[in-house]
């Protein structure tokens, strides 16, 4: 094994010491001008291949993480992970794959109205963020996933979502009008639809099971 270059050592120490993942620009700021950052990161990744920790890129930023297969050995299980309701999970997936997406679109895709607590929950965890308003009547808020979401699931970019390419290819991410007559019928039944929304709220409240 050859001795690591001074530049590589700096990248290594910087990724390691920084409390937050760091961008390639931030790394470049620590090194002589003109240093090939990408090559250094490749070299670093090669060095850590097969080891207990490794450099990973999430949300366009680099940090060290324990290797995925170490999970069972490291599991401390100090805190039980939150259990998410199916509604919350599906809503997260819809936002992730279809972003930016409005509340109405989420409801249309799931075919059921969205309880209030669902978006709140995802917002509280820090996995989604509001992202501008759709330029249609009513200017509804649009939602996107956050960097925290990418970091949590170990994704570099939204395009790296599992199966995203296939979904796109199949046209499933296209925007399409709701089943036309259903929309019309719904308008006729406005009052009942509201009652249904209430039921949804109840369900949302149990979205986050707090298990000790």
């Amino acid at each position: 094994m050859t001795a690591p270059s001074e530049e590589l050592r700096i990248v290594e120490a910087f990724l390691f010491a920084s409390p937050q993942p760091v961008s390639e620009e931030e790394i470049a700021g620590r090194l002589p001008e003109g240093t090939d950052i990408k090559a250094l990161l490749v070299e670093l990744a090669e060095h850590y291949q097969g080891r207990g920790v490794e450099p990973v890129k999430t949300a366009e930023r680099w940090s060290f993480r324990t290797a995925a297969d170490m999970a069972p050995k490291l599991k401390i299980r100090l805190k039980q992970s939150r259990r998410m309701s199916r509604a919350a999970l599906e809503t997260l997936a819809i936002i992730a794959y279809h972003q930016p997406v409005t509340r109405a679109e989420i409801e249309e895709i799931r075919g059921v109205s969205l309880s209030k607590g669902t978006l709140d929950l995802l917002l509280e965890i820090g996995w989604i963020r509001p992202s501008g308003r759709r330029k249609v009547p009513g200017k509804p808020l649009q939602w996107r996933t956050s960097d925290g979401f990418l970091e949590h699931f170990g994704l570099d970019r939204v395009d790296d979502l599992p199966g995203k390419e296939e979904m796109k290819a199949a046209g499933l991410l296209d925007r399409r009008p709701d089943l036309p007559p259903i929309g019309l019928l719904k308008d006729h039944l406005g009052a009942d639809a509201a009652a249904d929304g209430e039921e949804g709220d109840d369900e949302g409240a149990e979205g986050l099971d707090e298990e000790a």
């Binding site: 409390p19 995925a68 999970a71 075919g111 059921v112 979502l161 019928l185 039944l189």
Partner: protein, 264 residues
């Protein structure tokens, strides 16, 4: 391995609810009519794009009819979907005589699209949750030491502040009031104080100018001392404290304390 470490509840009851009777009992287990339709469609075990919409509509209408026996308050969404499917079914069964739009085929295709899209999202959610997650499967550095930092202090002052400080200083100096330059010369008052102090200790005649301070011999200060002392001596003579005498022009002027009782 991800299956075994999956901490999320398995959120899809579809498989466990594989029998029609289970549907009816468990309306609340479904997240809306589309969810029910998707479950029913999966029972056909064919590609969702090739699913028989007629069969699906029949199954759904049956489901709703059965469910209503148990729950009269069945949500509006379910009934709307039932009405729509009835309509779609009737259109599909009718010979394609009139060209109304949207065509029933298009409507059926739209329903298929919705079902496929919902299934794709569920698949996406499942795969997302199977990824190793931070703080659960992957860990960041537990005790990152943080980056050391160094503070560069930059002292700032503008020219205005600099001049302001000088002006303030100037004003402060002036506001102390008028102070005449300290007198360099030996004043009459100095001479009076000094003569009064010395004369009490001189019993006999003495050269007046020999009494001047040793350290100021020569120069303008000495001369000022000579004149002020002479003036002071005249004043003291007038007041009757001392006597003066001079033997002749340019002779030394002698001075002595006036004897007590001799009167002025």
């Amino acid at each position: 391995m991800a299956e075994t470490t999956e901490p999320f509840e398995d959120p899809w009851p579809a498989d466990s609810a594989a029998t029609p009777s289970a549907f009816i009992v468990d309306v609340a287990g479904y997240e809306g009519p589309l969810d029910v339709l998707l479950s029913l469609a999966r029972q056909q075990k064919v590609d969702l794009a090739k699913i028989s919409i007629l069969e699906l509509a029949d199954q759904y209408l049956l489901f709703v009819a059965e469910a209503r026996h148990i729950r009269l308050d069945l949500a509006a969404d379910y009934l709307v979907m039932a009405a729509w499917l009835t309509y779609l079914k009737s259109r599909l069964l009718l010979p394609e005589a009139e060209q109304e739009d949207p065509s029933p085929e298009l409507m059926a295709e739209a329903l298929q699209f919705h079902l496929r899209r919902l299934e794709a999202i569920r698949d996406g959610a499942r795969r997302l949750m199977q990824r190793p997650q931070l703080g659960q499967d992957l860990f960041r550095c537990g005790n990152a030491e943080g980056l050391p930092f160094e503070i560069d202090i930059q002292w700032t002052a503008t020219l205005y502040e600099l001049l302001g400080a000088y002006a303030a200083h100037t004003r402060r100096t002036e506001s102390r009031g008028y102070r005449p330059p300290p007198m360099e010369l030996f004043s009459m008052e100095d001479a009076l104080v000094r003569l009064r102090r010395i004369m009490g200790t001189l019993p006999d005649w003495g050269d007046m100018f020999a009494l001047l301070p040793e350290e100021i011999k020569g120069g303008i200060i000495y001369r000022s001392a000579v004149s002020s002392t002479l003036a002071a001596s005249l004043e003291l003579t007038r007041q009757g404290f001392v006597e003066l005498r001079q033997a002749g022009p340019f002779a030394p002027i002698e001075i002595r304390t006036k004897a007590k009782g001799e009167g002025a």
